[in-house]
């Protein structure tokens, strides 16, 4: 531990405060910007105090949208984002749990080979394989659908690897005790392994939900029907929309609303999340 001297503490706090300020400032600017009148930003001076158009701006974003500026009402986009993020998070967790279960508990041929194949896909993020993936999704007729938005992003080496590491720390005797108690593989998985993994699943859910929510490039590619626009790509469309100046006050209001669901997920799952990343006692 660092010595307990005044200057050390002062310095540490100074660094932390500066760090927080750097991170928080853009968020603050977005929040402020979303409360001003349309013309404010064209003057080139960024106000730092709240304006008086907060209610007006937010109600426009939520209830009316600006279709001429490429922005449908935000509700549908939030819903689309939510569905996509949920499908990705739940799908990733389900598939990763099962594949980690198979890799750890079953002695099948080429087990190690499959593990490495899964592991190597870590090096192939969506952007790298985006053209062939688009081709596959298009051929399957999944453009402009929730399936098309989520399925290609569901396979996850990260989560598989994390669950594998966790399963390997569950004592072998636990499985044997379950076998003696008459539990087959799936019953063992359901009754013993899943309850033990709850905190890990929660941590994974938070990470994967945010990963899904923040997807930008992929939704941009596979949707051109407004009914399937997600909010993150919606923001982009608002900025580049039409040939007018971007409606910054509305863009910022959308940004603030788009940031809320991930924040809520983290707030509600924080306790489990931290436990899942740090807990070792079983």
């Amino acid at each position: 531990m660092v010595e307990n001297d005044r200057w050390g503490i002062f310095l540490a706090h100074l660094i932390l405060i500066v760090g927080v300020a750097i991170v928080v400032f853009p968020v603050y600017v977005a929040l402020i910007a979303s409360t001003h009148a349309p013309g404010t930003f064209l003057q080139g001076v960024m106000p730092l105090l709240p304006g008086s158009h907060a209610i007006e701006n937010y109600s426009t974003v939520i209830f009316e949208g600006r279709s001429n500026a490429g922005a449908p009402p935000i509700g549908l986009m939030l819903w689309n984002s939510f569905v996509m993020a949920m499908m990705i998070a739940v799908g990733k967790i389900a598939i990763s749990l099962l594949s980690a279960f198979a890799i750890v508990y079953f002695r099948f041929r080429f087990r190690i080979f499959f593990f490495w194949i899964i592991f190597i896909t870590l090096m192939l993020p969506v952007e790298v394989r985006i053209v062939p993936t688009y081709q596959v999704v298009a051929n399957l007729g999944m453009l402009n659908s929730y399936w098309g938005l989520s399925i290609p992003l569901i396979a996850s080496a990260t989560a598989t690897f994390l669950f594998r590491q966790f399963f390997m720390t569950v004592p072998e005797e636990m499985l044997e005790a379950a076998r003696v108690d008459g539990a087959g593989p799936l019953k063992f998985f359901k009754d013993i392994l899943l309850p033990l993994s709850v905190t890990n699943i929660a941590a994974m859910f938070v990470i994967m939900f945010i990963y899904g929510w923040n997807q930008y490039l992929w939704p941009l590619l596979v949707t051109n029907d407004e009914a399937y626009y997600t909010v993150v790509m919606g923001i982009q469309r608002m900025v580049t929309g039409a040939d007018s100046e971007p409606l910054w006050h509305l863009v910022m209001a959308t940004v603030v609303l788009a940031a809320l669901p991930p924040i809520l997920v983290i707030l509600f799952m924080q306790r489990l999340f931290v436990k899942g990343l740090t807990e070792t006692e079983k």
Partner: protein, 348 residues
Amino acid sequence: MARIVLDGLSKVYPGGVQAVSDVSLDIADGEMIVLVGPSGCGKSTLLRMVAGLETITGGTLTIGDRVVNGLEPAQRDIAMVFQNYALYPHMTVYNNLAYGLRNQGVDKAEIERRVQEAASMLQIGEYLDRKPRNLSGGQRQRVAMGRALVREPAAFLFDEPLSNLDAKLRVQMRVEIRQLQKRLKTTSLYVTHDQLEALTMADRLVVLNGGRIEQVGTPMELYSKPATVFVAGFIGSPAMNLIDMAYLRDSGIAPQALPSGTDLIGVRPDELLLTAPAEPHLALNGTVALLEPAGAESHIYVTLGGSDQPITVRIAGLPQVTEGAPITLYAALDGLHPFNSASGRRTG
């Protein structure tokens, strides 16, 4: 309740390692058999083969009147107590006990009755709502026992269940397990590497070495008439002294009339005396290397004259000897254990 018959059981691992070779054993209904041996002797593997956790690669295993070679553990009507207890950490004690029964489809009232009965027998009734992590080592041990009890199985299998407890608790649980087993009269197979645990708990003792049975018998049979040098050295503490016949012949004190082929003599530390007995005896001269008082008894480590062979003597009380002083040890001839060192077997 069942008889268990092991007929020529063998285990060869895929890599070609032979863990258990040709073990045959007939365990009577209600008998407590203790498998004992050094680490790596195959005793745990053998137990796990009986449990169904390891496949059997040769021989047949019969529990009751069924051949169970190919059956899953749950179908063999056995219950196992694991070394680390293997309690389900997310379940309460009650659910830990009930889990196996639920899987068997036992109805609720019957589960309740059996769990309560086992809990009162093991005095864990007040912990039924707790999670295992809130229990002490001894309590966990009891829960593990309880999980075996509620199954009312044909046989209990214990895999070194006491090795994680401290010395005092170990003695206490040893006594309790044995009393419980005698009361329930359930056939039991108990693995341990602790020879004292083995001697005190067993109806019959099986000493394993290198995957083979060295000797089977009651604890007293094994103690008083070990069939091999290995058993002689393994059972009894301190270990039996083994003296080379060549040394005795060189010293001119080789006893006559030993079975032919004897070239190694075993003497238990407590069969060595400091005063000459009336019957024919052997007298060994040496010097006291160390005196080790241990309360009710003392151990004297003696180096025999003209050799560097250490000899251990166990004597009641605190004998009047000084370290470095010469000493003469006496052993009655009919207390000697004659062995052949080449075959490792007893000669008579």
